[in-house]
């Protein structure tokens, strides 16, 4: 709201309307074209933007979950374990790390992740889960399944 002349300043009706529009214009400050400068367009665009923001709060969580899943499955498959087998066998081994932490470990602590992957692989073989690409030492141990169940 720039008042280039006194006449325009007089045209601005009342303090209430000024602050109300100002609130909308502040939200529309980064828009492009008329939605930034013209109130009629600005208020519509701001409404739409707020709806997007509300939806986006949920979508962001889904997007992040998908990204973590991609990252964890990518790094688990380096060690010959599918994502489902990896996650399930970690759960069976009582390792309750979530996807975010696993993704962070995969990036910043690859050795810790490798240990987890190997552990889960052995567990998955014992439990007879599908999706194991590499053979494991546990394949040769007879009766291990019964021992672990006790």
């Amino acid at each position: 709201m720039v008042f280039t002349s006194a006449a325009l300043f007089v045209r601005a009706r009342g303090p209430d309307e000024f602050w109300r529009k100002r609130r909308v214009f502040k939200l529309a400050a980064h828009f492009h074209g008329r939605p930034r400068n013209v109130y009629t367009f600005a208020v519509r665009a701001v409404h739409r933007a707020l709806v997007y923001a509300t939806k986006g709060r949920k979508l962001k969580k889904l997007d992040m979950a998908e990204l973590w899943k991609t990252r964890v499955s990518a790094s688990a498959e380096q060690y010959g374990v599918s994502f489902d087998a990896f996650k399930n066998s970690l759960l069976k081994s009582n390792i309750l790390l979530n996807k975010k932490m696993l993704a962070d470990l995969a990036i910043w602590e690859p050795r810790s992740f490798e240990a987890l992957a190997q552990l889960s692989r052995e567990r998955a073989v014992v439990e007879g889960m599908p999706g194991i690409q590499e053979r494991s030492v546990m394949n040769q141990v007879y009766g291990l399944k019964n021992l672990l169940k006790k």
Partner: protein
């Protein structure tokens, strides 16, 4: 940033060159694997905005295998844009014209259609046989595992295996050998 960290950073984001042998592989199953390497989906640092895809060299694309009679069932459509400009090409005819085309289209179709797709495709190098230029082969440091076991022809199996393979059926007595 220390020299060690800088090297680590450089090594993490460096592009790797993979090689994939298409002999007796289904192009559409292989495309899913190849796509992962092209887009960098096989790396823990993957992000849609992160340009971390690798190069993939596909060799022997002329030797791909399709299941059943898919060579005559799969049809590629093209339209010139003019009236009556539609054309349908069977997969085997396309393969006869260009032995890399079926594989290339399979990888292209396996990726989601966005602005990045054509740039990602630039990192794919296809060769109909195993003759790869030295400057490309020199970059290759990794091999992608094939999706299908390459079957062996009976007349290509060596004599020793043939003779020592256990028999599971014996001829009945008085059988006339043919």
């Amino acid at each position: 940033m220390s020299i060690l960290k800088r090297t680590q950073q450089w090594a993490t984001f460096a592009r790797t060159w993979h090689i994939y042998d298409c002999t007796w592989q289904n192009p559409f199953d292989s495309a899913k694997v190849v796509k992962n390497h092209l887009m960098g989906l096989h790396k823990p640092i993957y992000h849609p905005m992160n340009d971390c895809g690798d190069h993939v060299v596909l060799i022997n694309t002329g030797e791909i295998a399709l299941p059943g009679d898919e060579w005559i069932k799969r049809v590629y459509f093209h339209h010139t844009g003019y009236p009556g400009g539609a054309s349908w090409t069977l997969a085997w005819q396309l393969h006869e014209k260009d032995p890399t085309m079926v594989m290339k289209k399979a990888v292209y179709a396996a990726m989601k259609g966005n602005l990045q797709r054509r740039h990602t495709m630039q990192r794919l190098h296809l060769f109909p046989d195993d003759k790869v230029p030295e400057e490309i082969l020199g970059n290759v440091t990794s091999q992608i595992k094939q999706t299908r076991v390459v079957p062996k022809r009976l007349d290509h199996i060596d004599k020793e295996t043939l003779e020592n393979f256990p028999a599971i059926m014996d001829y009945p007595k008085d059988y006339v050998l043919r």
